[in-house]
Symmetry: C2
Subunit: 230 residues, 2 copies
Amino acid sequence: MILSTYNKEDKVLLAVDCIIFGFLKDELKILLVQRDFEPEKGKWSLIGGFLKKEENLDKAAIRILNHLTGLNNIYMEQVYTFSKVDRDPAERTISVAYYALIDIATHDEKILKQNPIQWFNLKDAPKLIFDHNRMVEKAIARLRRRALSKPIGFELLPEKFTMRQLQKLYEAILDSKLDKRNFINKFNSFDILIKLDEKDMTSSKKGAYLFKFDQEKYNRKVEDGFNFKI
Amino acid sequence: MILSTYNKEDKVLLAVDCIIFGFLKDELKILLVQRDFEPEKGKWSLIGGFLKKEENLDKAAIRILNHLTGLNNIYMEQVYTFSKVDRDPAERTISVAYYALIDIATHDEKILKQNPIQWFNLKDAPKLIFDHNRMVEKAIARLRRRALSKPIGFELLPEKFTMRQLQKLYEAILDSKLDKRNFINKFNSFDILIKLDEKDMTSSKKGAYLFKFDQEKYNRKVEDGFNFKI
DNA sequence: AAAAAAAGTGTATTTTAAACACTTAACTTT
DNA sequence: AAAGTTAAGTGTTTAAAATACACTTTTTTT
């Protein structure tokens, strides 16, 4: 009897589309898939799928990401729900956009084994199906806000990284040049990085010191009211 | 043939729940409804309804708000989509939360005519059904962020207001005391208020000058790159 | 005439952000 | 082996923004 309460209401398909950001060689990238079913077969698309009855949206996003890339334990966050009536010409579909952050260097072998998916530089990504370009825009805006208030380096960089890489990451996300000294001074003032004795020798003769995030220290600081703010 | 593409996927009910904020007498308030159907009949709830096939979510939110309050032309914004599997015990329902901002003084006659709905001070609102309390929390967080980056006074205050009211509004939203002189100096530096010759005499013997937002000027400034930041 | 109650107003100090350029280390070339 | 090349590394000065802070004005009430 309770189960008949909402009987007369319309039901819809609920999709999840993933905006997967990666960072490699000073470039912010996005992972796209070539659609292998109609409509829009062959066109580039976000990685997506449909919500199942027995899972919530976060779980669906994780499942969909994992299914198409093999990746696990990836940072994901809900962005926005898109609901234009004719956004998918095949059938009325509402789509919840999630974004994910991936360190490409660490994960790429897994991903590249998979077939019709490919990293694109954000700046020269192709036109996408449906409203996926709008989704990407929203996700970038969200990523930008997040970068200003939380250290995204945890997710987008390899475990060990140079200050230059960290700066380039922020420059890519914020789409603006930063001053080397000011950036380093500010980041050091947060006191959440560990300087290693190791150097990265790939990008200069002198070599650049490698750093790690001190996740524990960061967590403790956040609990004590620390407010990361670039 | 195209229309059969997604045939095997699960469909769900998609609800819209509205977190309706109002401001009156220095207090931030929220509009709630006493549910008149099962499950949870008689309990307090957010104002909500179901998405229909022929409308998008923004339209649904507007319709639902209008239907239960008679209000039109209200500022609304999508907050988050809630999808816990058993969030509604009657049936699998996903709910998209929207928040709305209302100047109670201007709109209250309309609202109060309606039946089982009522304003509560945010601080002593009752326990709500399902996950509605979490929705309210998310919406407050969003409102707070918005208050820091956009002049919410446009929506939450009457057309004419005193500086004190404006300050109290920000204090209520940010849940913290602000310094009178610093607040006024900062707000004046934005140069988006018009000082009227009229005074509000209701709260003091001396009377307090009334102000209006200069919407046009604000819009022009935003176009020119102005960044409101409290 | 004194008391009360809210409105209104400006400056000094501290903190944060921004601008700015040379030295070091290690390899490469001649 | 000296000079050149390339990216790494490092502090100080200046400007701007945020914060702290207290008395005067107006008008009504007693």
